[in-house]
Symmetry: C2
Subunit: 305 residues, 2 copies
Protein backbone atom coordinates (compact mmCIF):
# COMPACT_ATOMS: atom_id res chain seq x y z
CA UNK A 1 0.00 0.00 0.00
CA UNK A 2 1.34 3.39 -1.00
CA UNK A 3 0.86 5.92 1.77
CA UNK A 4 -0.43 9.17 0.43
CA UNK A 5 -1.84 12.26 1.97
CA UNK A 6 -3.79 13.34 -1.03
CA UNK A 7 -7.21 14.92 -1.36
CA UNK A 8 -7.57 13.32 -4.76
CA UNK A 9 -5.87 10.00 -4.51
CA UNK A 10 -6.52 7.51 -7.26
CA UNK A 11 -5.23 4.19 -8.57
CA UNK A 12 -4.24 3.01 -5.11
CA UNK A 13 -6.95 0.53 -4.27
CA UNK A 14 -9.03 -2.33 -5.63
CA UNK A 15 -12.15 -0.32 -5.03
CA UNK A 16 -13.32 2.79 -6.79
CA UNK A 17 -14.49 5.72 -4.69
CA UNK A 18 -16.62 8.78 -5.32
CA UNK A 19 -15.26 11.78 -3.46
CA UNK A 20 -16.50 15.32 -3.17
CA UNK A 21 -14.61 18.04 -4.97
CA UNK A 22 -12.55 20.10 -2.52
CA UNK A 23 -11.78 23.08 -4.73
CA UNK A 24 -13.85 25.92 -6.11
CA UNK A 25 -15.10 25.75 -9.69
CA UNK A 26 -15.23 29.49 -10.26
CA UNK A 27 -12.53 31.25 -8.27
CA UNK A 28 -12.76 34.87 -7.30
CA UNK A 29 -9.78 37.06 -7.92
CA UNK A 30 -7.65 38.37 -10.69
CA UNK A 31 -10.17 39.19 -13.34
CA UNK A 32 -13.31 40.37 -11.58
CA UNK A 33 -13.28 43.66 -13.43
CA UNK A 34 -12.32 42.60 -16.94
CA UNK A 35 -14.58 41.15 -19.58
CA UNK A 36 -15.26 37.45 -19.74
CA UNK A 37 -18.41 35.40 -19.31
CA UNK A 38 -21.54 37.21 -18.18
CA UNK A 39 -23.12 36.18 -14.90
CA UNK A 40 -25.62 33.60 -16.15
CA UNK A 41 -22.91 31.97 -18.27
CA UNK A 42 -20.65 31.80 -15.25
CA UNK A 43 -23.46 30.25 -13.20
CA UNK A 44 -24.02 27.61 -15.90
CA UNK A 45 -20.32 26.83 -15.97
CA UNK A 46 -20.28 26.55 -12.17
CA UNK A 47 -23.29 24.22 -12.21
CA UNK A 48 -22.61 22.04 -15.28
CA UNK A 49 -18.83 22.03 -15.42
CA UNK A 50 -18.79 23.33 -18.99
CA UNK A 51 -20.25 25.99 -21.20
CA UNK A 52 -20.88 26.02 -24.94
CA UNK A 53 -20.27 29.23 -26.88
CA UNK A 54 -21.71 28.73 -30.35
CA UNK A 55 -20.06 30.63 -33.21
CA UNK A 56 -17.46 32.17 -30.90
CA UNK A 57 -15.10 32.65 -33.84
CA UNK A 58 -16.22 33.82 -37.25
CA UNK A 59 -16.29 31.56 -40.28
CA UNK A 60 -13.27 33.24 -41.82
CA UNK A 61 -11.28 33.05 -38.57
CA UNK A 62 -11.89 29.34 -38.13
CA UNK A 63 -11.23 28.68 -41.81
CA UNK A 64 -7.78 30.11 -41.21
CA UNK A 65 -7.24 27.94 -38.13
CA UNK A 66 -8.27 24.78 -39.98
CA UNK A 67 -6.07 25.64 -42.94
CA UNK A 68 -3.13 26.15 -40.62
CA UNK A 69 -3.82 22.87 -38.79
CA UNK A 70 -3.95 21.01 -42.09
CA UNK A 71 -0.79 22.76 -43.26
CA UNK A 72 0.98 21.60 -40.10
CA UNK A 73 -0.30 18.06 -40.52
CA UNK A 74 1.09 17.98 -44.06
CA UNK A 75 4.48 19.38 -43.08
CA UNK A 76 7.13 16.62 -43.12
CA UNK A 77 9.11 18.45 -40.44
CA UNK A 78 6.05 18.43 -38.16
CA UNK A 79 5.20 14.82 -38.93
CA UNK A 80 8.58 13.71 -37.64
CA UNK A 81 8.35 15.51 -34.31
CA UNK A 82 7.57 13.73 -31.08
CA UNK A 83 4.68 16.16 -30.55
CA UNK A 84 2.90 14.50 -33.46
CA UNK A 85 0.82 11.40 -32.77
CA UNK A 86 -0.08 9.25 -35.75
CA UNK A 87 -2.65 6.49 -36.02
CA UNK A 88 -1.97 3.15 -37.62
CA UNK A 89 -1.46 4.05 -41.20
CA UNK A 90 -0.04 7.50 -41.52
CA UNK A 91 -2.99 9.54 -40.38
CA UNK A 92 -2.13 12.24 -37.84
CA UNK A 93 -4.38 12.10 -34.80
CA UNK A 94 -2.93 14.90 -32.71
CA UNK A 95 -0.20 17.50 -32.74
CA UNK A 96 0.75 18.67 -29.26
CA UNK A 97 2.20 21.99 -28.15
CA UNK A 98 0.86 23.86 -31.17
CA UNK A 99 0.99 27.14 -29.26
CA UNK A 100 4.78 26.87 -29.23
CA UNK A 101 5.26 25.27 -32.64
CA UNK A 102 3.09 27.68 -34.57
CA UNK A 103 2.77 31.46 -34.47
CA UNK A 104 -0.92 31.63 -35.37
CA UNK A 105 -1.79 29.21 -32.59
CA UNK A 106 0.50 31.06 -30.18
CA UNK A 107 -1.52 34.20 -30.84
CA UNK A 108 -4.80 32.32 -30.71
CA UNK A 109 -4.00 30.79 -27.30
CA UNK A 110 -3.38 34.32 -26.07
CA UNK A 111 -6.59 35.74 -27.58
CA UNK A 112 -7.78 38.21 -24.96
CA UNK A 113 -11.35 36.90 -25.21
CA UNK A 114 -10.25 33.39 -24.23
CA UNK A 115 -7.64 34.44 -21.69
CA UNK A 116 -10.07 36.77 -19.94
CA UNK A 117 -12.54 33.94 -19.47
CA UNK A 118 -9.82 31.62 -18.20
CA UNK A 119 -8.57 34.25 -15.75
CA UNK A 120 -12.09 35.03 -14.65
CA UNK A 121 -12.95 31.39 -13.90
CA UNK A 122 -9.60 30.44 -12.38
CA UNK A 123 -9.30 33.73 -10.48
CA UNK A 124 -5.67 34.10 -11.37
CA UNK A 125 -3.09 34.64 -14.04
CA UNK A 126 -2.91 31.56 -16.28
CA UNK A 127 -0.35 29.67 -18.32
CA UNK A 128 -0.81 27.02 -21.00
CA UNK A 129 -0.47 23.57 -19.43
CA UNK A 130 -1.02 21.76 -22.72
CA UNK A 131 -2.24 22.51 -26.23
CA UNK A 132 -3.02 20.41 -29.22
CA UNK A 133 -4.80 19.96 -32.51
CA UNK A 134 -7.01 16.86 -32.65
CA UNK A 135 -7.88 15.53 -36.07
CA UNK A 136 -10.55 12.87 -35.64
CA UNK A 137 -11.06 11.58 -39.17
CA UNK A 138 -14.28 10.42 -40.73
CA UNK A 139 -15.04 6.70 -41.20
CA UNK A 140 -12.35 5.47 -38.79
CA UNK A 141 -12.49 7.93 -35.86
CA UNK A 142 -12.11 5.96 -32.66
CA UNK A 143 -14.04 6.39 -29.45
CA UNK A 144 -12.41 8.04 -26.44
CA UNK A 145 -13.63 6.60 -23.18
CA UNK A 146 -14.95 8.65 -20.25
CA UNK A 147 -12.27 10.38 -18.23
CA UNK A 148 -11.57 13.32 -16.00
CA UNK A 149 -8.50 15.14 -17.30
CA UNK A 150 -7.63 16.09 -13.74
CA UNK A 151 -7.36 12.48 -12.63
CA UNK A 152 -4.52 11.91 -15.10
CA UNK A 153 -2.96 15.32 -14.60
CA UNK A 154 -2.98 14.81 -10.84
CA UNK A 155 -1.58 11.29 -10.84
CA UNK A 156 0.73 11.38 -13.84
CA UNK A 157 1.75 15.04 -13.86
CA UNK A 158 1.45 16.07 -10.23
CA UNK A 159 -1.07 18.85 -10.79
CA UNK A 160 -2.01 19.78 -7.22
CA UNK A 161 -5.56 21.20 -7.35
CA UNK A 162 -8.56 21.54 -9.62
CA UNK A 163 -7.73 24.97 -10.98
CA UNK A 164 -7.42 24.42 -14.71
CA UNK A 165 -9.79 24.39 -17.64
CA UNK A 166 -9.83 23.32 -21.26
CA UNK A 167 -10.91 25.39 -24.19
CA UNK A 168 -11.93 23.36 -27.25
CA UNK A 169 -12.32 25.30 -30.49
CA UNK A 170 -14.28 23.37 -33.12
CA UNK A 171 -12.35 23.29 -36.40
CA UNK A 172 -15.17 21.39 -38.08
CA UNK A 173 -18.83 21.07 -37.30
CA UNK A 174 -19.60 18.77 -34.37
CA UNK A 175 -22.82 16.97 -35.13
CA UNK A 176 -24.71 13.99 -33.78
CA UNK A 177 -22.98 11.63 -36.23
CA UNK A 178 -19.27 12.39 -35.95
CA UNK A 179 -18.61 11.41 -32.34
CA UNK A 180 -19.02 14.79 -30.68
CA UNK A 181 -17.58 15.47 -27.22
CA UNK A 182 -20.00 14.31 -24.55
CA UNK A 183 -20.02 15.79 -21.05
CA UNK A 184 -21.67 14.50 -17.90
CA UNK A 185 -23.35 17.53 -16.42
CA UNK A 186 -22.29 18.34 -12.89
CA UNK A 187 -19.71 15.55 -12.85
CA UNK A 188 -16.98 18.07 -11.97
CA UNK A 189 -18.36 18.23 -8.41
CA UNK A 190 -17.27 14.65 -7.70
CA UNK A 191 -13.90 13.05 -8.08
CA UNK A 192 -13.85 9.43 -9.16
CA UNK A 193 -10.93 7.66 -7.55
CA UNK A 194 -10.05 4.94 -10.01
CA UNK A 195 -9.16 1.34 -9.36
CA UNK A 196 -5.45 0.71 -9.60
CA UNK A 197 -2.43 -1.23 -8.51
CA UNK A 198 -0.68 -0.53 -5.27
CA UNK A 199 3.03 -0.67 -5.90
CA UNK A 200 5.09 2.31 -6.97
CA UNK A 201 7.26 -0.01 -8.95
CA UNK A 202 4.40 -1.29 -10.99
CA UNK A 203 3.46 2.22 -11.95
CA UNK A 204 6.96 3.12 -12.93
CA UNK A 205 7.07 0.37 -15.48
CA UNK A 206 3.68 -0.29 -16.87
CA UNK A 207 1.35 2.63 -16.63
CA UNK A 208 -1.08 2.28 -19.47
CA UNK A 209 -3.90 4.68 -20.13
CA UNK A 210 -6.16 1.89 -21.28
CA UNK A 211 -5.92 0.14 -17.94
CA UNK A 212 -5.41 2.88 -15.37
CA UNK A 213 -7.35 6.01 -14.67
CA UNK A 214 -10.49 4.45 -16.10
CA UNK A 215 -13.63 5.32 -14.11
CA UNK A 216 -15.78 2.33 -13.17
CA UNK A 217 -19.28 1.81 -14.58
CA UNK A 218 -21.05 2.23 -11.23
CA UNK A 219 -19.48 5.64 -10.63
CA UNK A 220 -20.28 6.73 -14.18
CA UNK A 221 -23.87 5.61 -13.75
CA UNK A 222 -24.03 7.58 -10.50
CA UNK A 223 -22.84 10.72 -12.28
CA UNK A 224 -25.10 10.29 -15.31
CA UNK A 225 -28.14 9.62 -13.11
CA UNK A 226 -27.56 12.92 -11.39
CA UNK A 227 -26.80 15.18 -14.31
CA UNK A 228 -27.35 13.43 -17.62
CA UNK A 229 -25.15 13.71 -20.68
CA UNK A 230 -24.87 16.64 -23.03
CA UNK A 231 -23.08 16.80 -26.37
CA UNK A 232 -22.67 20.38 -27.60
CA UNK A 233 -23.24 20.50 -31.34
CA UNK A 234 -22.55 23.40 -33.61
CA UNK A 235 -20.57 24.80 -36.50
CA UNK A 236 -16.83 25.24 -36.78
CA UNK A 237 -15.77 28.24 -34.70
CA UNK A 238 -17.87 27.21 -31.71
CA UNK A 239 -16.09 26.82 -28.38
CA UNK A 240 -16.60 24.59 -25.35
CA UNK A 241 -14.92 25.53 -22.09
CA UNK A 242 -14.81 22.77 -19.52
CA UNK A 243 -13.47 22.26 -16.03
CA UNK A 244 -10.46 19.97 -15.60
CA UNK A 245 -12.57 17.51 -13.61
CA UNK A 246 -15.62 17.32 -15.87
CA UNK A 247 -16.14 13.75 -17.01
CA UNK A 248 -16.12 13.61 -20.80
CA UNK A 249 -15.58 11.24 -23.70
CA UNK A 250 -16.74 10.58 -27.23
CA UNK A 251 -18.08 7.74 -29.32
CA UNK A 252 -16.52 6.57 -32.55
CA UNK A 253 -17.01 8.34 -35.87
CA UNK A 254 -18.01 6.18 -38.84
CA UNK A 255 -19.61 9.18 -40.56
CA UNK A 256 -17.79 10.84 -43.46
CA UNK A 257 -17.55 14.06 -41.42
CA UNK A 258 -14.16 14.62 -39.76
CA UNK A 259 -14.33 16.03 -36.24
CA UNK A 260 -11.38 18.26 -35.57
CA UNK A 261 -10.64 20.71 -32.82
CA UNK A 262 -7.98 22.84 -31.20
CA UNK A 263 -7.44 22.45 -27.48
CA UNK A 264 -5.84 24.87 -25.06
CA UNK A 265 -5.54 24.00 -21.38
CA UNK A 266 -5.21 27.01 -19.10
CA UNK A 267 -3.87 26.45 -15.60
CA UNK A 268 -3.57 28.87 -12.69
CA UNK A 269 0.01 30.04 -12.17
CA UNK A 270 -0.43 28.98 -8.53
CA UNK A 271 -1.23 25.44 -9.63
CA UNK A 272 1.99 24.49 -11.41
CA UNK A 273 2.94 20.83 -11.52
CA UNK A 274 4.61 19.03 -8.64
CA UNK A 275 5.97 15.52 -8.63
CA UNK A 276 3.97 12.80 -10.34
CA UNK A 277 2.53 10.17 -7.98
CA UNK A 278 4.00 6.77 -7.34
CA UNK A 279 7.48 7.82 -8.37
CA UNK A 280 6.45 8.11 -12.00
CA UNK A 281 8.80 9.93 -14.31
CA UNK A 282 7.48 13.29 -15.51
CA UNK A 283 5.71 13.08 -18.85
CA UNK A 284 7.23 14.93 -21.80
CA UNK A 285 7.20 18.73 -21.88
CA UNK A 286 4.69 18.82 -24.75
CA UNK A 287 2.14 16.82 -22.78
CA UNK A 288 2.56 18.67 -19.48
CA UNK A 289 4.79 21.70 -19.43
CA UNK A 290 7.21 22.32 -16.57
CA UNK A 291 9.27 24.97 -18.34
CA UNK A 292 6.94 27.59 -19.74
CA UNK A 293 5.08 28.82 -16.69
CA UNK A 294 4.99 32.53 -17.28
CA UNK A 295 1.50 34.04 -17.46
CA UNK A 296 -0.06 34.36 -20.86
CA UNK A 297 0.01 37.96 -22.02
CA UNK A 298 -3.35 38.59 -23.66
CA UNK A 299 -3.40 39.78 -27.25
CA UNK A 300 -6.09 41.57 -29.18
CA UNK A 301 -7.34 39.15 -31.84
CA UNK A 302 -5.91 39.76 -35.28
CA UNK A 303 -6.19 36.86 -37.69
CA UNK A 304 -6.01 38.74 -40.93
CA UNK A 305 -3.20 36.41 -42.00
CA UNK B 1 -11.63 -13.23 -62.65
CA UNK B 2 -14.89 -14.90 -61.74
CA UNK B 3 -17.40 -14.65 -64.56
CA UNK B 4 -20.79 -13.74 -63.27
CA UNK B 5 -23.99 -12.61 -64.84
CA UNK B 6 -25.28 -10.73 -61.87
CA UNK B 7 -27.14 -7.44 -61.61
CA UNK B 8 -25.63 -6.93 -58.19
CA UNK B 9 -22.17 -8.37 -58.38
CA UNK B 10 -19.79 -7.48 -55.59
CA UNK B 11 -16.40 -8.48 -54.22
CA UNK B 12 -15.08 -9.40 -57.65
CA UNK B 13 -12.80 -6.52 -58.49
CA UNK B 14 -10.15 -4.20 -57.14
CA UNK B 15 -12.39 -1.25 -57.80
CA UNK B 16 -15.61 -0.32 -56.11
CA UNK B 17 -18.60 0.59 -58.26
CA UNK B 18 -21.83 2.46 -57.69
CA UNK B 19 -24.67 0.83 -59.57
CA UNK B 20 -28.31 1.79 -59.93
CA UNK B 21 -30.89 -0.29 -58.15
CA UNK B 22 -32.74 -2.54 -60.59
CA UNK B 23 -35.68 -3.51 -58.42
CA UNK B 24 -38.71 -1.67 -57.11
CA UNK B 25 -38.68 -0.37 -53.54
CA UNK B 26 -42.41 -0.53 -53.03
CA UNK B 27 -43.94 -3.39 -54.99
CA UNK B 28 -47.54 -3.44 -56.02
CA UNK B 29 -49.48 -6.57 -55.38
CA UNK B 30 -50.68 -8.76 -52.63
CA UNK B 31 -51.72 -6.27 -50.01
CA UNK B 32 -53.11 -3.26 -51.81
CA UNK B 33 -56.40 -3.53 -50.00
CA UNK B 34 -55.33 -4.37 -46.48
CA UNK B 35 -54.11 -1.97 -43.82
CA UNK B 36 -50.48 -0.99 -43.64
CA UNK B 37 -48.68 2.30 -44.08
CA UNK B 38 -50.74 5.25 -45.27
CA UNK B 39 -49.77 6.87 -48.55
CA UNK B 40 -47.42 9.58 -47.30
CA UNK B 41 -45.61 7.03 -45.13
CA UNK B 42 -45.23 4.76 -48.11
CA UNK B 43 -43.87 7.66 -50.17
CA UNK B 44 -41.32 8.45 -47.46
CA UNK B 45 -40.24 4.84 -47.33
CA UNK B 46 -39.92 4.79 -51.10
CA UNK B 47 -37.85 7.96 -51.10
CA UNK B 48 -35.67 7.50 -48.00
CA UNK B 49 -35.34 3.72 -47.80
CA UNK B 50 -36.68 3.62 -44.26
CA UNK B 51 -39.48 4.90 -42.09
CA UNK B 52 -39.61 5.56 -38.37
CA UNK B 53 -42.79 4.73 -36.47
CA UNK B 54 -42.46 6.25 -33.01
CA UNK B 55 -44.25 4.48 -30.16
CA UNK B 56 -45.55 1.74 -32.46
CA UNK B 57 -45.88 -0.61 -29.49
CA UNK B 58 -47.19 0.45 -26.09
CA UNK B 59 -44.96 0.75 -23.05
CA UNK B 60 -46.44 -2.36 -21.51
CA UNK B 61 -46.05 -4.38 -24.69
CA UNK B 62 -42.40 -3.48 -25.11
CA UNK B 63 -41.71 -4.02 -21.42
CA UNK B 64 -42.87 -7.59 -21.97
CA UNK B 65 -40.61 -8.00 -25.02
CA UNK B 66 -37.58 -6.70 -23.14
CA UNK B 67 -38.30 -8.92 -20.16
CA UNK B 68 -38.51 -11.93 -22.46
CA UNK B 69 -35.30 -10.99 -24.25
CA UNK B 70 -33.49 -10.67 -20.92
CA UNK B 71 -34.99 -13.94 -19.73
CA UNK B 72 -33.67 -15.67 -22.85
CA UNK B 73 -30.24 -14.09 -22.40
CA UNK B 74 -30.10 -15.41 -18.83
CA UNK B 75 -31.19 -18.92 -19.78
CA UNK B 76 -28.22 -21.33 -19.67
CA UNK B 77 -29.86 -23.49 -22.35
CA UNK B 78 -30.06 -20.48 -24.66
CA UNK B 79 -26.55 -19.32 -23.86
CA UNK B 80 -25.14 -22.60 -25.10
CA UNK B 81 -26.91 -22.58 -28.44
CA UNK B 82 -25.17 -21.70 -31.68
CA UNK B 83 -27.82 -19.04 -32.28
CA UNK B 84 -26.35 -17.07 -29.38
CA UNK B 85 -23.41 -14.76 -30.06
CA UNK B 86 -21.38 -13.66 -27.06
CA UNK B 87 -18.84 -10.86 -26.80
CA UNK B 88 -15.49 -11.25 -25.18
CA UNK B 89 -16.38 -11.79 -21.57
CA UNK B 90 -19.70 -13.47 -21.25
CA UNK B 91 -21.97 -10.72 -22.46
CA UNK B 92 -24.56 -11.81 -25.02
CA UNK B 93 -24.55 -9.60 -28.11
CA UNK B 94 -27.19 -11.31 -30.21
CA UNK B 95 -29.57 -14.23 -30.18
CA UNK B 96 -30.61 -15.32 -33.66
CA UNK B 97 -33.79 -17.05 -34.79
CA UNK B 98 -35.80 -15.83 -31.82
CA UNK B 99 -39.04 -16.26 -33.76
CA UNK B 100 -38.45 -20.00 -33.75
CA UNK B 101 -36.88 -20.32 -30.30
CA UNK B 102 -39.48 -18.32 -28.44
CA UNK B 103 -43.26 -18.32 -28.57
CA UNK B 104 -43.73 -14.65 -27.74
CA UNK B 105 -41.35 -13.62 -30.50
CA UNK B 106 -42.98 -16.09 -32.90
CA UNK B 107 -46.28 -14.31 -32.31
CA UNK B 108 -44.67 -10.87 -32.48
CA UNK B 109 -43.03 -11.61 -35.84
CA UNK B 110 -46.50 -12.54 -37.10
CA UNK B 111 -48.18 -9.42 -35.66
CA UNK B 112 -50.70 -8.45 -38.32
CA UNK B 113 -49.70 -4.80 -38.10
CA UNK B 114 -46.10 -5.62 -39.04
CA UNK B 115 -46.90 -8.34 -41.54
CA UNK B 116 -49.39 -6.13 -43.35
CA UNK B 117 -46.76 -3.45 -43.82
CA UNK B 118 -44.20 -5.99 -45.03
CA UNK B 119 -46.70 -7.48 -47.49
CA UNK B 120 -47.76 -4.04 -48.65
CA UNK B 121 -44.18 -2.91 -49.37
CA UNK B 122 -42.96 -6.19 -50.84
CA UNK B 123 -46.17 -6.76 -52.75
CA UNK B 124 -46.26 -10.41 -51.84
CA UNK B 125 -46.62 -12.99 -49.13
CA UNK B 126 -43.58 -12.90 -46.85
CA UNK B 127 -41.52 -15.26 -44.75
CA UNK B 128 -38.94 -14.55 -42.05
CA UNK B 129 -35.47 -14.63 -43.58
CA UNK B 130 -33.75 -13.90 -40.26
CA UNK B 131 -34.65 -12.71 -36.78
CA UNK B 132 -32.66 -11.71 -33.77
CA UNK B 133 -32.39 -9.86 -30.51
CA UNK B 134 -29.48 -7.40 -30.36
CA UNK B 135 -28.28 -6.40 -26.92
CA UNK B 136 -25.82 -3.52 -27.35
CA UNK B 137 -24.62 -2.89 -23.83
CA UNK B 138 -23.74 0.42 -22.27
CA UNK B 139 -20.09 1.47 -21.79
CA UNK B 140 -18.63 -1.13 -24.14
CA UNK B 141 -21.05 -1.24 -27.09
CA UNK B 142 -19.03 -1.50 -30.27
CA UNK B 143 -19.56 0.37 -33.50
CA UNK B 144 -21.04 -1.42 -36.51
CA UNK B 145 -19.66 -0.13 -39.79
CA UNK B 146 -21.77 0.98 -42.74
CA UNK B 147 -23.25 -1.83 -44.76
CA UNK B 148 -26.09 -2.80 -47.01
CA UNK B 149 -27.69 -5.99 -45.70
CA UNK B 150 -28.50 -6.98 -49.25
CA UNK B 151 -24.86 -6.96 -50.32
CA UNK B 152 -24.11 -9.71 -47.80
CA UNK B 153 -27.38 -11.55 -48.33
CA UNK B 154 -26.83 -11.54 -52.08
CA UNK B 155 -23.21 -12.66 -52.00
CA UNK B 156 -23.15 -14.91 -48.98
CA UNK B 157 -26.71 -16.22 -48.98
CA UNK B 158 -27.71 -16.07 -52.64
CA UNK B 159 -30.70 -13.77 -52.14
CA UNK B 160 -31.65 -12.94 -55.75
CA UNK B 161 -33.33 -9.53 -55.67
CA UNK B 162 -33.95 -6.53 -53.46
CA UNK B 163 -37.33 -7.61 -52.16
CA UNK B 164 -36.80 -7.83 -48.40
CA UNK B 165 -37.00 -5.44 -45.50
CA UNK B 166 -35.99 -5.28 -41.86
CA UNK B 167 -38.17 -4.31 -38.97
CA UNK B 168 -36.27 -3.09 -35.91
CA UNK B 169 -38.28 -2.84 -32.70
CA UNK B 170 -36.56 -0.68 -30.07
CA UNK B 171 -36.37 -2.57 -26.76
CA UNK B 172 -34.71 0.42 -25.10
CA UNK B 173 -34.69 4.09 -25.93
CA UNK B 174 -32.41 4.99 -28.83
CA UNK B 175 -30.87 8.36 -28.09
CA UNK B 176 -28.01 10.45 -29.42
CA UNK B 177 -25.58 8.95 -26.91
CA UNK B 178 -26.04 5.20 -27.17
CA UNK B 179 -24.96 4.57 -30.74
CA UNK B 180 -28.35 4.69 -32.45
CA UNK B 181 -28.87 3.16 -35.89
CA UNK B 182 -27.87 5.64 -38.60
CA UNK B 183 -29.30 5.47 -42.10
CA UNK B 184 -28.10 7.18 -45.26
CA UNK B 185 -31.22 8.60 -46.81
CA UNK B 186 -31.91 7.44 -50.33
CA UNK B 187 -28.93 5.09 -50.32
CA UNK B 188 -31.21 2.16 -51.17
CA UNK B 189 -31.43 3.48 -54.75
CA UNK B 190 -27.77 2.67 -55.40
CA UNK B 191 -25.90 -0.56 -54.97
CA UNK B 192 -22.31 -0.31 -53.83
CA UNK B 193 -20.29 -3.09 -55.38
CA UNK B 194 -17.54 -3.71 -52.86
CA UNK B 195 -13.87 -4.31 -53.45
CA UNK B 196 -12.93 -7.95 -53.15
CA UNK B 197 -10.71 -10.82 -54.14
CA UNK B 198 -11.19 -12.67 -57.36
CA UNK B 199 -10.76 -16.34 -56.61
CA UNK B 200 -13.57 -18.57 -55.50
CA UNK B 201 -11.10 -20.52 -53.49
CA UNK B 202 -10.09 -17.53 -51.47
CA UNK B 203 -13.69 -16.90 -50.54
CA UNK B 204 -14.27 -20.43 -49.54
CA UNK B 205 -11.55 -20.29 -46.98
CA UNK B 206 -11.22 -16.83 -45.60
CA UNK B 207 -14.34 -14.78 -45.94
CA UNK B 208 -14.23 -12.27 -43.16
CA UNK B 209 -16.89 -9.66 -42.58
CA UNK B 210 -14.33 -7.13 -41.50
CA UNK B 211 -12.53 -7.31 -44.82
CA UNK B 212 -15.18 -8.11 -47.38
CA UNK B 213 -18.46 -6.46 -48.16
CA UNK B 214 -17.17 -3.16 -46.78
CA UNK B 215 -18.26 -0.14 -48.83
CA UNK B 216 -15.43 2.24 -49.75
CA UNK B 217 -15.21 5.80 -48.39
CA UNK B 218 -15.73 7.49 -51.76
CA UNK B 219 -18.99 5.63 -52.38
CA UNK B 220 -20.19 6.38 -48.86
CA UNK B 221 -19.36 10.05 -49.31
CA UNK B 222 -21.28 10.00 -52.60
CA UNK B 223 -24.34 8.59 -50.85
CA UNK B 224 -24.13 10.91 -47.84
CA UNK B 225 -23.67 13.96 -50.06
CA UNK B 226 -26.91 13.11 -51.83
CA UNK B 227 -29.13 12.21 -48.93
CA UNK B 228 -27.48 12.92 -45.62
CA UNK B 229 -27.61 10.75 -42.53
CA UNK B 230 -30.55 10.27 -40.21
CA UNK B 231 -30.61 8.51 -36.84
CA UNK B 232 -34.17 7.85 -35.66
CA UNK B 233 -34.38 8.45 -31.92
CA UNK B 234 -37.24 7.55 -29.70
CA UNK B 235 -38.53 5.51 -26.80
CA UNK B 236 -38.68 1.75 -26.48
CA UNK B 237 -41.55 0.44 -28.56
CA UNK B 238 -40.65 2.57 -31.57
CA UNK B 239 -40.08 0.78 -34.87
CA UNK B 240 -37.84 1.43 -37.88
CA UNK B 241 -38.61 -0.36 -41.13
CA UNK B 242 -35.81 -0.29 -43.67
CA UNK B 243 -35.15 -1.62 -47.13
CA UNK B 244 -32.63 -4.45 -47.49
CA UNK B 245 -30.31 -2.18 -49.48
CA UNK B 246 -30.40 0.91 -47.25
CA UNK B 247 -26.89 1.73 -46.07
CA UNK B 248 -26.80 1.75 -42.28
CA UNK B 249 -24.44 1.45 -39.34
CA UNK B 250 -23.92 2.70 -35.82
CA UNK B 251 -21.22 4.29 -33.72
CA UNK B 252 -19.97 2.87 -30.45
CA UNK B 253 -21.82 3.25 -27.15
CA UNK B 254 -19.78 4.45 -24.17
CA UNK B 255 -22.92 5.83 -22.50
CA UNK B 256 -24.47 3.91 -19.62
CA UNK B 257 -27.63 3.40 -21.68
CA UNK B 258 -27.92 -0.02 -23.31
CA UNK B 259 -29.27 -0.02 -26.85
CA UNK B 260 -31.27 -3.13 -27.52
CA UNK B 261 -33.62 -4.10 -30.28
CA UNK B 262 -35.49 -6.94 -31.90
CA UNK B 263 -35.00 -7.48 -35.60
CA UNK B 264 -37.26 -9.32 -38.04
CA UNK B 265 -36.32 -9.59 -41.69
CA UNK B 266 -39.25 -10.19 -44.02
CA UNK B 267 -38.55 -11.54 -47.48
CA UNK B 268 -40.90 -12.05 -50.40
CA UNK B 269 -41.77 -15.73 -50.89
CA UNK B 270 -40.69 -15.26 -54.54
CA UNK B 271 -37.24 -14.17 -53.40
CA UNK B 272 -36.08 -17.27 -51.55
CA UNK B 273 -32.36 -17.93 -51.39
CA UNK B 274 -30.37 -19.48 -54.21
CA UNK B 275 -26.77 -20.55 -54.16
CA UNK B 276 -24.24 -18.32 -52.44
CA UNK B 277 -21.72 -16.69 -54.79
CA UNK B 278 -18.17 -17.90 -55.36
CA UNK B 279 -18.97 -21.44 -54.28
CA UNK B 280 -19.39 -20.37 -50.68
CA UNK B 281 -21.05 -22.83 -48.35
CA UNK B 282 -24.53 -21.75 -47.23
CA UNK B 283 -24.51 -19.94 -43.92
CA UNK B 284 -26.27 -21.59 -40.97
CA UNK B 285 -30.05 -21.86 -40.93
CA UNK B 286 -30.40 -19.34 -38.10
CA UNK B 287 -28.57 -16.65 -40.09
CA UNK B 288 -30.34 -17.26 -43.40
CA UNK B 289 -33.17 -19.73 -43.46
CA UNK B 290 -33.56 -22.23 -46.28
CA UNK B 291 -36.04 -24.48 -44.52
CA UNK B 292 -38.89 -22.35 -43.20
CA UNK B 293 -40.20 -20.64 -46.29
CA UNK B 294 -43.94 -20.82 -45.74
CA UNK B 295 -45.70 -17.47 -45.66
CA UNK B 296 -46.19 -15.90 -42.24
CA UNK B 297 -49.80 -16.25 -41.14
CA UNK B 298 -50.72 -12.92 -39.57
CA UNK B 299 -51.94 -12.92 -35.98
CA UNK B 300 -54.00 -10.37 -34.13
CA UNK B 301 -51.71 -8.89 -31.46
CA UNK B 302 -52.26 -10.33 -27.99
CA UNK B 303 -49.43 -9.76 -25.55
CA UNK B 304 -51.31 -10.06 -22.33
CA UNK B 305 -48.74 -12.65 -21.21
Amino acid sequence: MVLVSDAYQSRVDNEAAIMLRRDPVVYSGANDGAQGLVQHQLRNYQKNGFIFLKNFFTESEVALFLKEANRMAADPMIREREETITESGDQIRSIFMVHRLNDLFRRLAADVRLVNIARQILGDEVYIHQSRVNLKPGFVGKEFYWHSDFEAWHVEDGMPRMRALSCAIFLTEHNEFNGPLMFIRGSHMHYISCVGETTADHYRHSLKKQEYGVPDPASLRFLVDRGGIQAPKGPAGSVVLFDCNTMHGSNSNISPYPRSDLLFVYNSVQNALGKPRFGLAPRPEHVATREELSPVVPLEPDYSG
